[in-house]
Symmetry: D2
Subunit: 362 residues, 4 copies
Amino acid sequence: MSEKISSVHYINYLSLDKILDAQSPLSGEGKDAAHEEMLFIIIHQTYELWFKQIIHEINSVMDLFKDEKIDEKNVGVVVSRMDRVNKIMSTLIGQLEILETMTSLDFLDFRDQLSPASGFQSHQFRKLEVMLGLKIKKRHQFGGCPYHAQFEGKKKKEILELEDNYSLFNVVENWLERIPFLNIDEFDFTKKYDSAVKEMLNKEIEGIKTATLTDSDREIRIRMIEENKKYFERVLSEEEHNKAIENRETNLSYKATMSALLINLYRDEPILHLPYQFLRSLIELDHKIASWRFRHVQMVEKMLGQKIGTGGSSGQGYLKETVDKHKIFTDLANISTLMISRSYLPQLPQNIKDSLGFNYTK
Amino acid sequence: MSEKISSVHYINYLSLDKILDAQSPLSGEGKDAAHEEMLFIIIHQTYELWFKQIIHEINSVMDLFKDEKIDEKNVGVVVSRMDRVNKIMSTLIGQLEILETMTSLDFLDFRDQLSPASGFQSHQFRKLEVMLGLKIKKRHQFGGCPYHAQFEGKKKKEILELEDNYSLFNVVENWLERIPFLNIDEFDFTKKYDSAVKEMLNKEIEGIKTATLTDSDREIRIRMIEENKKYFERVLSEEEHNKAIENRETNLSYKATMSALLINLYRDEPILHLPYQFLRSLIELDHKIASWRFRHVQMVEKMLGQKIGTGGSSGQGYLKETVDKHKIFTDLANISTLMISRSYLPQLPQNIKDSLGFNYTK
Amino acid sequence: MSEKISSVHYINYLSLDKILDAQSPLSGEGKDAAHEEMLFIIIHQTYELWFKQIIHEINSVMDLFKDEKIDEKNVGVVVSRMDRVNKIMSTLIGQLEILETMTSLDFLDFRDQLSPASGFQSHQFRKLEVMLGLKIKKRHQFGGCPYHAQFEGKKKKEILELEDNYSLFNVVENWLERIPFLNIDEFDFTKKYDSAVKEMLNKEIEGIKTATLTDSDREIRIRMIEENKKYFERVLSEEEHNKAIENRETNLSYKATMSALLINLYRDEPILHLPYQFLRSLIELDHKIASWRFRHVQMVEKMLGQKIGTGGSSGQGYLKETVDKHKIFTDLANISTLMISRSYLPQLPQNIKDSLGFNYTK
Amino acid sequence: MSEKISSVHYINYLSLDKILDAQSPLSGEGKDAAHEEMLFIIIHQTYELWFKQIIHEINSVMDLFKDEKIDEKNVGVVVSRMDRVNKIMSTLIGQLEILETMTSLDFLDFRDQLSPASGFQSHQFRKLEVMLGLKIKKRHQFGGCPYHAQFEGKKKKEILELEDNYSLFNVVENWLERIPFLNIDEFDFTKKYDSAVKEMLNKEIEGIKTATLTDSDREIRIRMIEENKKYFERVLSEEEHNKAIENRETNLSYKATMSALLINLYRDEPILHLPYQFLRSLIELDHKIASWRFRHVQMVEKMLGQKIGTGGSSGQGYLKETVDKHKIFTDLANISTLMISRSYLPQLPQNIKDSLGFNYTK
């Protein structure tokens, strides 16, 4: 107890002597120094500090999901940690505007010295990608080498081990598969949903048939709905879904997909509200990381242009490719294609409704 | 004079009776109303108001550049108006977060009724694209029809006439061509720059030859510099440049490109400082519009997903294509590839320096 | 059905002919026009559109809380609507940067004509303040007249009626009073909390007594804790609380305050999670409105300076006063002073815990 | 040369081993660790890194102004560095949202241990305040001790020395005093301006006399203008100005104030454009720092509430006081009160106009 009381100065608590002594511009100090190099160093250091924080949060989220049976309390905790991660990502995107105050001419004052050090070598960012679920097979290749070729010793080993471990994607998939609401008593969600979709599409076709339209217009609209029908059939078939997984068109298992669909459709039921917020936060994270890559490409374009036709390696081209390709939770975003309007939504039987509500209000 | 004193109430000054009475949800009012439709209407109305403001600013910028001889005072005015346009764009990007609070399930509550009304039909946004310099040939096609097929009467005519008019791109190109600093007295900028580039690249090759490197490493590096040399040669050749224009690899004329390069390299000279800020603001506008399109794609993805494999038209796919393709000022951004570091920059002769400075300080 | 299919053009759907024809600069059109007046009009129109949206959301939130017994589903809906309102407020704060691109010299070009029209006359904003719960007695007075003196006819009547109606503050207070968890079976929350606080403070005193401190240091620390003790006693006494209400030091009833405290302390229990998010969103709204007023003061300062010593009315001074004074939910923010760390938090008996959980997981 | 080629890895270049090893939560590691303490440490470290960058920029700005005769080129450099500082401040304000994801209950998990370490102890932030020009006499006192009591040794000495040094405020004041345009040949700016103001106010009075107004309304308006007249007279009198300085109502010298006024009024003249941008950037910095303090107060309120009536020291109250009181460049913001509309602005004689323009265009 008595230790707690002994005072800690802010400077020591934050190890500021380490932090504020860690800037060593290659362009030198004094007259020779390139004024702008300090900005380049400091902004990258803040990025790395924030990456550490994001990794801290994602690790804790994965931990909370480890158990077979998740404590309901923890879904709220997870949602607020994901919200924090997304707010950090917003800052990381926004602060690119600071770096963009450095112009290409300024950058040239020290660029030579630091080649080939590049953000591509951020160990923490690679680690984060792997933790989220980016597999080496899915990565866009840069140059001829695998992405981990640039790390050595302990750092390389850590990355390779992470590749073999459970990722956030796996953890989410398993959790979705365990969610027990797809079949309760006599309620079979997939069947109910399937009939609802058919009813909806049939009504749409009826509407078009009786509407005053030109023949060709009517034909086009009916054809579109038929296409939609096929799309839903394919998506609802477990067999077709598994084929799509084999062809790497999709990643999330059939059962997990159905659970995610149920959560999206019945998100207003108390027990599903936080799970819904969690799924949204994962899509949000994917989009924020994509936005960060996208703005990163723009920043590089402002600084270096696009050397069309040069043989030189193009970090910018690499970055551009990863914007879409390195997304992790696209399958969750695509659930939106399966939404049907509330008027067609199958009513839940009262016993199910009760079981999704609070004990108190029962 | 006396009229000025008569009082105007805020409500009348802003025509609020019109503005606040212009929301007519298709889903109806009262019980039937889809709560979220109001948001959908209002956010689109704010977008259109801001588009009007942007068009107001771009029109004034084009006006100020109309004369053969631009009043130097006006470059400052133009820079601050472009800065305003870019701040508006930041707001337009940022406020997408408001729309994203609407989920796909919410959207379905009124989506049926409003089809096919879509943001693609914004007359003002198409007009803005044309004013900036997007030519119909360069546009990404959507469906089988030209983009103006959806407008009629006066609105169609306005768009078609704008296509034939001078655009901001043209105005900037002409202004750059008129800038008189490429050749003053004995100073020939292109020649000087060409020698400086050669000197720089030769020094780099010398450095590599004497460095302790493996043979293969040395070879790679030298090959990279030789590629660079070729790149610079091609860019500096007027003939090659004109070929590139014919092949639509570039748009900006050779002379305008050289002026833009000069402004970028000597931006610290007083007379070039504001022109430099102006060129930067054009690149910034291009990037902001691209960011807006990019975030728009994300918003649609959250709301509708990606219907992989359906035959339905894909507004999202269209949007995605336009992110890069509809950029106007890429040639200005690419000037960055031609920067050389300050130590190689040819010194301006004193008489040129004077002529780029203020009269007072001469 | 067939009507749904008939097409609606974006331009008509959004009443763009009304919206885009509602800008009538007093400085005239053509040569005489003050270029910047358009911005002044358009930004105020977007503010009014967004105020309409905020009022739409707040109305719906109040509606959902009207019933004696709130459907648990609706708390989630309310939270997401409040989140939307707060995102709108962020945009309103951010877009002040656009207006700040107009300088004082620019403003003078049309300012004379529009006097005395001022944002102070926004009927919607006054309405919003009243709806949230700002009572006329609490308002900072401007000039000699009540704030509603500037409205007439229907608009004045609407404001006066709203003053007499239930506000969001009342609705929240009633809802908090109805929350049934302060006394369940043998569990008396206030008593339990009171003992926990005492235990905590006593332990702190013990710690200080045994710590190695100078006598005077020890004395200061013990005195501070004694002050804390008194503070907690006062806050927990219903009698003292009611006195504070009479003296207008606080507004929220004793019972509602205790419920808010319980929600804050046990927010991780499933049934309290969304209520907790809702309370946070109210504090957030208060803060966002305060930030908007604060930034508004800065904007006016940039445009008009502070005429120190002039007799002229000072809109800026008025605004400054309202930043803190017009806050509505300060009592909710002050709950933070009553937090005790998790280690002292009284454990809930299992039957209470169950009753706060989901039926399914029981 | 050969060293330049030897490769530097990103991890070493950024001293990441130091940076990422500098987080030592007092709550411990593993099971005992308070999850949220990491965020608390990391966000403060990013603040300190950014403070280092701001100090780097402000130092360079002061350096560029050191010489008697400022190279015109450098005003552009200074403007872009101030722009960067302001962009950093925007990030610092924005990222408070990350810290606000930590709730008061979370904070209590580790708050005890770190007392009394507080942001108030940031050496760099105090240093920055002093560098900008905040004198100890003007500071709001906290507790009984001067602000530098919390520093020791080298750190204390550095702060005390800075207090005696030139600040950015001094540097700006000197530069404004040196600007040579107040009197050129026969042109006496202050006189010209004085007549223009009188002409303007007289016209306003004439207008009111002939307008259709009630007698009392007319009287009020005329009285307001008379007040304005007195205000201008006082401001334009060097004697009165010096009295105001003695009474600490204003800080900026009379001559510097007149120069700032001239720059504001004739900012469109080429030679004054960048000086105008610079003055604006100083006001902007003041406002950004004030916004940061203001948001900081809100953050503390969310975390700790306002312990009304406790004896404990109130960091929040201190912060609140500094929002306005610690502003440095208020006198520059107040120049706005002296603007007169372009129609009354005295025309510059042609020889003066020439001398404010570019040599080339003469």
